[in-house]
Structures are given as C-alpha cells and as structure tokens.
C-alpha cells in the first residue's frame, strides 16, 4: 500500500505466532558504480549508533528485550539491490512490558542515528566491514551447489547489471571512500524506494503509528527494473576447473516473462513440472531413472525472466546428463506432459505456497516481493490463478524458454 511517493507499507495480521516481525526494505537498481558502496551501508550501520556505539552494546540491548533479533542483509531481486533491516521479537501479549516500542526505537536508532566521527562513519568500522564483505564475496565458491548456478547466471548476463554480485566487487570495495559510503547512506535514506512490512498480532492503528514514526519523506525513487527482453543468438558454453570430486552442471535459460502477467503463472507451473519437486521430469529422469545425480532441479527468477537448472554429476557423465536435461525441455515443448505430472505439480505448488503461511520469515519476503512489483495478490489468490493454468497453456508458454548459457564446474584432472 502506498503511503506517499516512493514509500509503501504492508501489514499482515496473524495471532498464531509467538513473535512479530518487522522489516524495512530499501531498493535501488543495481549499478556497477554503486553496488559496493550500497552494500557497505547496512554492514556499517549495524556496527553502532550514537546511543549504542558498538555491536556488543546493541546485542546486550536486544538480549534485554527478551532476546529480540535484529539484523541487516543485502540481496538482489532481478536487477535491483535490496538493503533489508529486520527485527523479530516476542509478541507483547506474552510479556509484562511492551517490547514493540523499544525494538522500533532501536531500529530507528540504527537506521537514522549512526555512530559518526569527523562527518563520516567510524574509520575502523568501515575498514573492517570492507574486509568482511570481501570475505563474503570470496566465500561464495565454498557452497558449490549454489555457486555453480550463480556463476552460470553471471556468465549469461555478462554485460547486464544482473551479473553484479549484491555484495559488490573487490575493486569497488577498495575504491569506496568514507565520503562515498556516507553519500550512499544519505541516498538510501532520502532517495531509495522504501517498504515497511510487518507480520504479527498488531492492529492497523499500531502499525500506522510505527510507519509514521519512521518519518520517511516522499521521494522520487528510481523505478524497479523489470525484465529486459533478450533472445540468445547462440548458446554460450563455459567450463571451469576446480579441485572438486563432483561435477556441477548448470544451465541458464531466458524466458523474458514479466511477473504479474498471465504467462508468469503458466511459467510457474511449467517450472514445477520440469524441475520443481520429486514428481518433476528432472528428478524422475536425471535421478530416479538414469541414476546420474542426487539432485536435479529448475528454479525461476521472477524479477529477471530467467530459469536455471542445476545438477551434481560424475565428470564423465556430462554428455548424458546434458542430453537428458534437454530431452525434458523438448518433451515440455512437445506437450509430452502426463495428467499425473500436471496434477501432482499443482498440488505440490499449492502445498508449498500454503505452508509458507506458517513461516514468518518466508511471508515477510513474499509480501515484500509482491510490494516490489506493485501486486496486492495474496497467497490464496496466487494459488487460485495457478490452478487455472492448463497443460495447453504450459505447452504454449514453453516457446519462451530459450537456452542461453551452459556452465560446467569440472575437476582438475579432467581434460
């Protein structure tokens, strides 16, 4: 719901949790120039405020609030960089005193009242957070399953903002001066799109008061970037060597489908049948039938209009796994979809979406994601739309799926 220009708020009421959750999200288009500076902002804000100058002071204060949790994160949704500040705290009704006001004050202190020295951030904090972000960037390769797909997307989108890492890059972090980061901070406060999302046992009045108390001014925030239509001319093939025991095969496809369109719901069902769960073609054929892998799945990025497939295989089975995967894509296009696959996929989607209603963290992300694309759709409405998608629609939408990049993370010995 729009509060003022560039500022939105959303309350999801529920009394079944023992805790409430509050998230303040800032979003801005990803750019090479700003990504590293922006990433440093939440990192440095969580280090200390004028009232609580160290992380330890903040942690002690949170412990006093019956173990309230507060943290920040940086992520990307499509080609947008998201800076998130969130808190989880025990519902006042379980306590003798109210923690809600205290945690909101703490969040405001962290966001608006950072510890400063000489008109900039504390020099030590900035230096330490640069090292920390570099570590995060370099440690991405530790998780090979995740990294193989990220790397594939990165190669696909080589010249697009999508290839930027949400934490920035080493050179950009090195370059960022205290002044740059402070400007990025002011930019975040004054110009980035803001969303305040809350889940829990809170009345509209209480929520409105919280939203008002943040006092965000109206802003002319950059619009979130949507899908840029790109049709791959030819498939890009890249293999890289690592000191590993299992090969990781990843494929990136362009769908060019915008969220909030009829095709997007069809694409969700397409993705479910292809590689979303144990009933899916990838699981059944790559794993169960051909015994090539332990995991094989497909996944959509709805804000970018892309789909990724990933599987862990023996190095020598590369060709067989690749062929098996493409055969499944072809079967989707040819309409070789059984009623079992279709119906089971719908049930699986329905089950996993309904289950989300019990998980506060997942709900917070879901509803923020909806705000981001200006959608008021609830989980139940989404489920309803998915159940209306037919096999024919799925076959029709499959025409949009175009292979762009194939990435193979292979072993060192392998020629």
């Amino acid at each position: 719901m729009k509060i003022k220009d560039g500022v939105r708020a959303k309350l999801i009421k529920s009394g079944k949790y023992k805790t409430n959750m509050l998230g303040v999200f800032f979003s801005t288009p990803l750019t090479k120039d700003d990504v590293s500076k922006n990433a440093l902002v939440p990192a440095i804000l969580r280090r200390g405020t004028k009232n609580y100058p160290t992380m330890r002071d903040i942690s002690i204060e949170l412990e006093k609030m019956y173990g309230a949790k507060f943290d920040c994160s940086v992520s990307k949704k499509g080609e947008n960089q998201i800076l998130k500040f969130y808190a989880e705290f025990v519902n006042d009704k379980y306590l003798e005193e109210s923690v809600t006001d205290k945690i909101v004050d703490m969040m405001k202190d962290i966001i608006f009242n950072p510890l400063l020295e000489n008109d900039g951030f504390k020099v030590d904090y900035l230096a330490q957070e640069k090292v920390k972000l570099k570590n995060i960037i370099e440690s991405r390769k530790n998780d090979k399953v995740q990294y193989a797909l990220e790397r594939c997307y990165e190669l696909m989108a080589e010249n697009e903002p999508y290839s930027l890492c949400e934490y920035g890059d080493i050179a950009g972090l090195d370059r960022a001066t205290n002044k740059d980061v402070f400007e990025a901070y002011k930019n975040m406060i004054n110009n980035f799109a803001v969303d305040i999302v809350m889940i829990g046992d809170v009345s509209d009045d209480e929520f409105n008061k919280i939203v008002d108390s943040f006092g965000f001014a109206p802003r002319n925030a950059a619009k979130i970037t949507t899908v840029t239509r790109i049709i791959p001319e030819k498939v890009k093939n890249v293999a890289e060597e690592f000191d590993i025991n299992q090969g990781k095969l990843s494929l990136a496809f362009r769908t060019n489908i915008e969220p909030n369109t009829k095709e997007y719901y069809e694409m969700m069902v397409y993705n479910g049948i292809l590689g979303g769960g144990v009933q899916s073609k990838l699981f059944q054929n790559v794993r169960e039938k051909n015994s090539l892998a332990y995991y094989a799945f497909s996944r959509l990025d709805k804000y970018k209009g892309v789909m990724g497939i990933s599987s862990g295989i023996e190095f020598k089975n590369y060709q067989k796994a690749y062929d098996t995967i493409l055969e499944q894509i072809k079967d989707m296009e040819d309409g070789k979809i059984t009623d079992y696959e279709y119906e089971t996929t719908l049930k699986t989607l329905k089950n996993s979406l309904s289950s989300m209603k019990d998980e506060q963290g997942a709900l917070l992300e879901f509803y923020y994601g909806q705000e981001l694309i200006s959608s008021e759709e609830t989980i139940d409405e989404l489920i309803d739309k998915l159940t209306k998608v037919t096999i024919k629609d799925v076959v029709e939408v499959s025409k949009n799926v175009k292979l762009d990049t194939v990435y193979f993370m292979k072993g060192k010995e392998e020629a």
Binding site: Y17, N245, Q246, Q279, T348, N351, S352
Partner: protein, 422 residues
C-alpha cells in the same frame, strides 16, 4: 494417554505408549496450515553390529547401511512412496543421523491419507537387487556432493580427531567403496532388526485432533505384538582424543576452524548441563560477549561463531565453529578466555540476561512446526522431551555454568580441525 502441558509455552503434548513398545506423540497447533508427521527408528550409523533377532547370527554391517536403507524404504511394491506423497500434494523426505533414521512428510490438506501412507510405507519396503544397484549411483552422487562440502569436511575431521573407535567419526552415508557390497539381504536383515515398533517413535504436530491421530496409529501398526529385544555391540571408547589436530587444504576462500572438547556421556542432568554449556558458550564468545567484540575488531573473526553441543547417550562433545584469516590466533584467544572464565566469578547480570535470551530463543522454536518436529525427534531419540527444557531454563543457576565450565571445557580433551584454502 498422557497429557503434558507447558504453562510457559502454552503448548500441550499427548503421548500414548503401546504394548508393542511404540511411542506416539501429538502436539496440536491450532490455526496452523501445515501439518507435519515423523516416523523414526533408533537405527543410525553407529548401530552397525548386532544379533539378528530370528537367525541369532551376529551381523556387522559396512559403513553407510542405515542411510542406504533410508533411501530404499521408500521403494514399495506399487511404486515409490515419495511419488505417492507427491500425488497427494504432500511433501515427503527422510534423513539419517548417527543415532536414528526418520521419515517425514508435511501437508496442508488430506493429512489422514498421507499419515496412513507414512505408517504403512515405512513398515513395508519392497527392495529388489535391481533397485539397490540403481540407488548406488544416486547415493554415490550424494556422497560426492558432501565430499565437496567444506563444512562437512571440517566437521568430520573434527570427529575424527575426537574419536578413536566410536563409529560416530564415520560419515553417515559411508563412502562409494563401503556401499558397493550392500545388497538386498543385508538391507532386509537391518530392516527386520531395527524397524520393529519397539524401536520406533511417531510424532505429529499441527492443527490435528490427537484422538484421530492415535486411531490411525492403532489401525496401521500391530500395536499389541510382543516387543523385540535388540542385542547390539558398541566398541569401548577411551576418554582421550584420537588426534589433537587435523588440517586439510580445500577449495575455500577463508580458513575455517572447529575447536572443542570431548567429554564422557555421563550426565547428572542432561538438559540442565546442556543449557549451562550453552550459557557458558554465549558468555565466552556469543554476540554480546567481550571476546566476540574484540575478535571482530581485530579482524580475527568476521561472522558469528557457531556453537555445537552434542550430548548423546553414546557420546558427547562440544565445539565452536568459525571462519578466520588466522584460525590459530582466534583459537588461542578463545582458550585464554576460557581459562579466565574458569578462574573468575560468573557475572550475575550477564548470566541473567543470557539466560533470558536463550529462554526467548527456546520459546521461538515453537513458532514453526518444522522446527518442532525436527527438534522433538532428535531429543526423543536420546530420551529427552523437548518440553522439559522450559522448566530447566528457570532452574539453571550460575553455579551450574561454573560446574559446566570445569566439566566440559577440559583442555586435556581438546581438538582442532582446520580447513584452509589451497
């Protein structure tokens, strides 16, 4: 039927123990969409030497059998149970630990049918030679995936430092070599021994009626049969560690460490001692500790230190996990702080603050049916009821923390595992 109620948590637990030895538990969560059920057996990777109940033959199994059986139990005469769950719109899974195997599903609709399927399929695997061969390829890739997982390597190298003979040091999934000789007969021998109701537990959490759940259990399990007595053999384990240090190079960006202490699994009060160690850990290097602040500001740590407290009936250890540019310097600081804590008074205010926070963390777990189910099963498998923590969080004193420091942070039994970049 037994009803246990926690006033602090505002939760109720219903329990029914059957003549066959099966224990069934239900925790209703009104208003929740998701329902979660688990069926677990006391058969994990450490249960590898036993007497077959019928042939009376002693069987020693190769590493990875319990996990292999977990995969194969899904195979039914009329197809894969996993597919059947999917067809009902339920999501199923299973996992194997050192001490147990658990089968589970969650759903938002049609709970009773899925629950019937869970109880039925776990009791009726249909294992063929052909499907065993096929599964070796899949599990082989699961093992390979873990071989490339730095956290996994760090953890098992740590266990390898700790233990001389206890099989806990061996990967639950085994290796490609140890699973090679596994065949149908071996799997059935294990199944017929360990998948007896006397060795099993059922747990359900969600918006359900306990009476209805118990009724399905009674219809699906032969609850009046005589319990089986399982005879097992475990190797004796010396209190000393196997190695004090293991270091390997791996495809990682930053060195990782796991540092901790081996202990004997002899507890006075397992829950209270666990809480006391947890408080000690938080005071030592938790986010509100002086040491964490110092390590962070000196660049010796860039992310919170993980804490592992493993108090099982068959083994016990505690450990700290972190990433550091200079792991040995970080560990040296931690050791120094432990010694300082041992020789000084516990600060009452700090103790109280952390005790309250951990109580809050504990209450918070009851937000999620997934978390409840996993934590409940892991606890009941070591004869601990997760609801019993509530009271102990109130009872624990700073003297308990002091005692825990002396008992569990024993430098004589320390070990370090390091994974460093290539």
């Amino acid at each position: 039927m037994d009803i246990k109620e926690s006033k602090i948590l505002k939760e109720k637990l219903y329990e029914k123990d059957y003549p066959c030895g099966l224990r069934a538990y239900v925790m209703p969560k009104p208003g929740y969409d998701k329902k979660f059920a688990m069926f677990g057996t006391h058969f994990g990777s450490i249960n590898n030497d036993f007497i077959h109940p019928e042939t009376k033959e002693r069987i020693k199994v190769p590493d990875g059998v319990a996990h292999f059986l977990e995969h194969k139990v899904f195979a039914q005469k009329d197809g894969s149970a996993m597919d059947m769950f999917a067809e009902m719109g339920s999501s199923s899974n299973a996992y194997t630990t050192f001490t147990h195997t658990a089968y589970l599903f969650s759903c938002t609709e049609g709970f009773t049918d899925s629950f019937r399927l869970l109880l039925k399929f776990v009791q009726n695997p249909y294992i063929t030679d052909e499907s065993v061969a096929n599964e070796k390829g899949i599990i082989g890739q699961e093992i390979r995936m873990y071989e490339d997982d730095a956290d996994w390597q760090l953890y098992f190298n740590f266990l390898n430092c700790m233990y001389n003979d206890n099989t806990v040091k061996i990967d639950t999934a085994g290796t490609v070599e140890t699973i090679a000789p596994i065949d149908r007969t071996l799997l059935y021998n294990c199944f017929n021994t360990f998948y007896d109701p006397s060795n099993m537990v059922v747990f359900v959490v969600g918006d359900v009626n306990p009476d209805d759940v118990f009724k399905v259990v009674e219809e699906s399990v032969d609850v009046n049969k005589a319990p089986l007595e399982i005879k097992q053999f475990f190797k004796d384990e010396a209190p000393e560690v196997n190695h004090s240090r293991k270091e390997v190079a791996f495809e990682v960006a930053l060195p990782m460490f796991m540092y901790g202490f081996k202990a004997e699994p002899k507890y006075e009060d397992i829950i209270k001692e666990e809480i006391a160690v947890n408080i000690a850990f938080e005071m030592l290097c938790g986010k509100s500790s002086r040491l964490y602040q110092e390590l962070y500001e000196n660049g010796l740590i860039t992310s919170p230190i993980g804490m592992d407290i493993t108090f099982e009936r068959e083994y016990a250890f505690i450990g700290l996990v972190g990433e550091s540019e200079k792991p040995d310097e970080a560990i040296a600081k931690i050791k120094e702080e432990i010694n300082k804590m041992k020789h000084s008074e516990i600060n009452a205010e700090e103790f109280e603050r952390i005790r309250k926070r951990l109580t809050g963390d504990y209450i918070r777990q009851f937000n999620s049916v997934d978390k409840i189910a996993h934590i409940f099963m892991a606890n009941i498998m070591r004869n601990v009821n997760m609801l019993d923590y509530a009271e102990e969080y109130n009872n624990v004193t700073k003297e308990d923390v002091k005692k825990a420091l002396d008992k569990y942070f024993n430098m004589k039994y320390e070990a370090t595992s390091i994974v460093k970049p290539l």
